[in-house]
Amino acid sequence: MMRLLNRASLRFYLRHPWQLGLAVAGISLGVGVFVGVQLANDSAARAFDLSAALVRGSTSHRLVPIGADLDEKVYRNIVIDRDVATAAPVIEANVGIAAHPGLRIPLLGVDPTQERNLRSFAAFTPGRGNGDLTRLMTEPGTVLVPAALAAELGAEPGSELTLQIAGRETVVHVLGIVGSLTTDVQAEPPLLADIATAQELLGMPGRITRIDLRLTESEAAALAAATPDGTILVREGAQRAAFDELATAFRTNLTALGLLALVVGTFLIYSTMSFAILQRRATLGVLRAIGVTPRELLSSVLVEALVLAAVATGLGLLLGRGLAAGLVDLVLRTIGDIYFSSVVEAARPSPWIYVQGAALGTAATLIAALKPALDAARASPAAVLRRATLERQAKRGAVVAAWLALPLLAVSGAILAYGPKNLVAAFGSLFAVLAAGALLTPLATVALMAMLDRLLGRFLGLPAVIAVRGVGASLSRTGMATAALAVAIATVNGVGLMIGSFRTSLSSWLETTLTADLYVTADPTTPLAADSDVLAMLMEVPGVAGVSVARALVVQSSVGEIAVRAFRPGARGFGLTIVSGPADAALAALAQGRGVAASERLMFARHLSVGDELTLPSPSGPQRLPIVGAYRDFNTGNYAIVMALERYRASWNDLTITGLGVDLRGGADAAAVEAAVRGLLGPKAAVRIRSSSGIEELSLQVFDRTFQITEVLRLLAAVVAFLGVLSALLAIELDRGREIGVLRAIGFAPRDLATSVLTQTGLLGLAAGLVALPLGTALAALLVHVINRRSFGWSMEFAPTFGPLGAGLALAIGAALLAGVYPSWRASRVVLGTALREE
């Protein structure tokens, strides 16, 4: 029996290839987008993890300086006096490559004899043996170059490479190439040198930047209790926490968008399967009449769904693979922006993602097919449901669905109010709001059509009324498609509004923060001496109205690694937007050195409040610094604090600076001032000078680049929804075959019918677009106030504008009209004889 039923199902789809195609497309696209995003995510994450692991090796802890660097004697003290067996001294700084302007990669100076205990790249060049190690240690100015960089520069063993270090160019000899460690990893190691060579190149004789250690917990506790003077013991990886949290949040956001495409795809499957069952309701009634049991019918439809899922998921996995190739670069670039790194290439993603995608695709198909399958099983053997009865049921269903939306909204609110304050809960709440929107859509569509009926009926006449009523009268087909389109367009609206709000907030933050006209920045590893004569001379440069001074450094605090930004502000103040705590009091306390302002990312991630204290190690002992306020900070780097420069100098005994802010007089020639500043600082100063407008432009460029992938994903969700509408319209058109024949018989011209169908599809789009306005705005508010907050710790102003909403409405109507082109063409081409003969 099942064999015959399955054969009947197969023949049904072969006779309705567009239905088969749309069902397959729904699943394939949903699975494809999800798998593509996951593959790209995983590939990028693994690339960065592997890159970090390559440098980390089996290091468990690091002994780092409280100040800028360490005397290498500390290393001897650790090994000999403290009897730590596995330790390796490291000197690390970023260097430029003369042949690759703008690229900065880490130069890692290590002791090759100690490295093999910690890092597998102690073997350096596979196949080249220890002979190279000996030469690396004995020959001055020799380095090992990462394979990708070597390939790009055409560097080979024996060739020379010009590095830019602290403003000067230094030629080094390439001793070998550092290849990948395993065959599936393309992550690149840094530029490697013997520690003595690195000290010489960096102009830091006898100094190291840290000591890498492999310690047991008890050894670590013992060492932490009595660290050498001027050092602090940190757990490996802790210093990357801020970056890791940011990158993880970014990837979580992408995963959610990928899942959304799958959810919209599921709508499409449901819609297609429901229609396939509706179309066969007569056949199903007959089958029940001749003795097929409900269980057999249920099994038959589920088998049908499984076969569809298998074919479509397979295609989806292929699509995902192709999509990932395009997406991975966008993900890598964004995460690269977060980590300030540009040397990481994609790694091979986990094959489990394909399994995950296949499982999700199959599960989504079966869930979507379950209700249609149950409907099929319940088909009455005595009487086949009349269409009118079906539509009445659909309308009752729309009312029930709308009621169901209310508890769902309550659940969403409860998750936000009482649920865990993490990102997954926030997305749970967001998906609940979307689901509620989808449930409200059919009733909203009916209400809108009833309203239009009254208006259009009066002004446009019966053909328009037929189109309007057709939407409501075909709710069993249009309801789900409109809901899918509304969800997709709401996503487009929501993300668009969020991006707009974010961009507005970023732009306004940049305007507040950039208090100077020109910024002179030095690498924190090579700060400028604070020469008061230079500052005085700067003030004398024609066009300069004032100079602010900054020292930036990274320290290990009681809440992990944080960036300290110590300022002596210029006339325009600190440029901080205080978001918690009284702003005036906070800025006054800050200026007087009575505390620090913490970035809101730090406050959020470490659950800090104004009034809490941060303990920072300093050369003059631990500093307990009260937090006087939280400030808005859209930087993607470390968690940060701001303090007065004098407060910093009092405890850190460091008079160097890493940044100068130059205020220009009105009408001053910025280029001339820049040239004069360069001349004053001298040719050896490794500084970058940028205008505030240049920084703003660059920041907005990075912002736009970051959201490129979001644009791609939301458009993909819209494509899936478009297919949903197309599917529904074709279903309606097929279902209305006879009605179309009658209309033609009483005098409708083909063009009238095409117009009628297009009007109907436009109305569907209008309904979805209108529902998407409030839904998208709610979504945007959630993204701005909850998702972004929990993802990145950023607060921003919610600034809804009509632009993205109008574009969403136009997209909804445009997509629906586009989807209506083929059905309207089919309606206008209907063979009258055939349509009426089917009577």
Partner: protein, 225 residues
Amino acid sequence: MTTPAWIEVREVSKAYGAQPVLDHASLAIERGARVAVVGRSGSGKSTLLRLIGGLEPADAGSVRVGGADLGAYSEAERAAWRRRDLGFVFQFFNLLPTLTVAENVELPLALNAVVAKEARRRSLALLQELGLGACADRFPEEISGGEQQRVAIARAVVHEPQLVLADEPTGNLDIETAGQVLALLRHTCERRGTTLVIATHSADVAAQATRVIGIRGGRIEERAS
């Protein structure tokens, strides 16, 4: 003197796939006639009606109505002719489920650009005449089959077409209702001088016609009325 033919079906052939339905069939119908087309199932009665109504083209031969060759018309011209000069009554009523009874009747008037108020007035008057005044604001699914077929007749004649084609108009009704509907159709057309062509199995229906023709083996033959 013979009345000139108003409908001229000349040497028309029509096949669906390999199955011939009409084979060089010819027929002439004078204006205002009431003609019944009889024949067995599948004999080609409905096909003949669709050819006369310009709903589908003949494979060979020509169909002329009121001197106009329907085959020479474009699709848009045929649609314009149908909306002006043709009314169609189907076996299964085929009222538009999303329009009320009155709106269904108004539809041909709306297509002929009659202003909405006048269209409403005329449709209500006709419904009243057919005893359906109380049903005007109901939807088709809310009235009986007999009432639906009367609404379908109203829709077919409201714009006063020159020709009404009825395909098994009583085929889906009980005997009593069928008699009422048929009488109504006949009187309505007679009062307006409308030419009526009915395809039917029923001898009772055929008996109401002024002329009966049969179709056998794809050919049209005159029967005694």
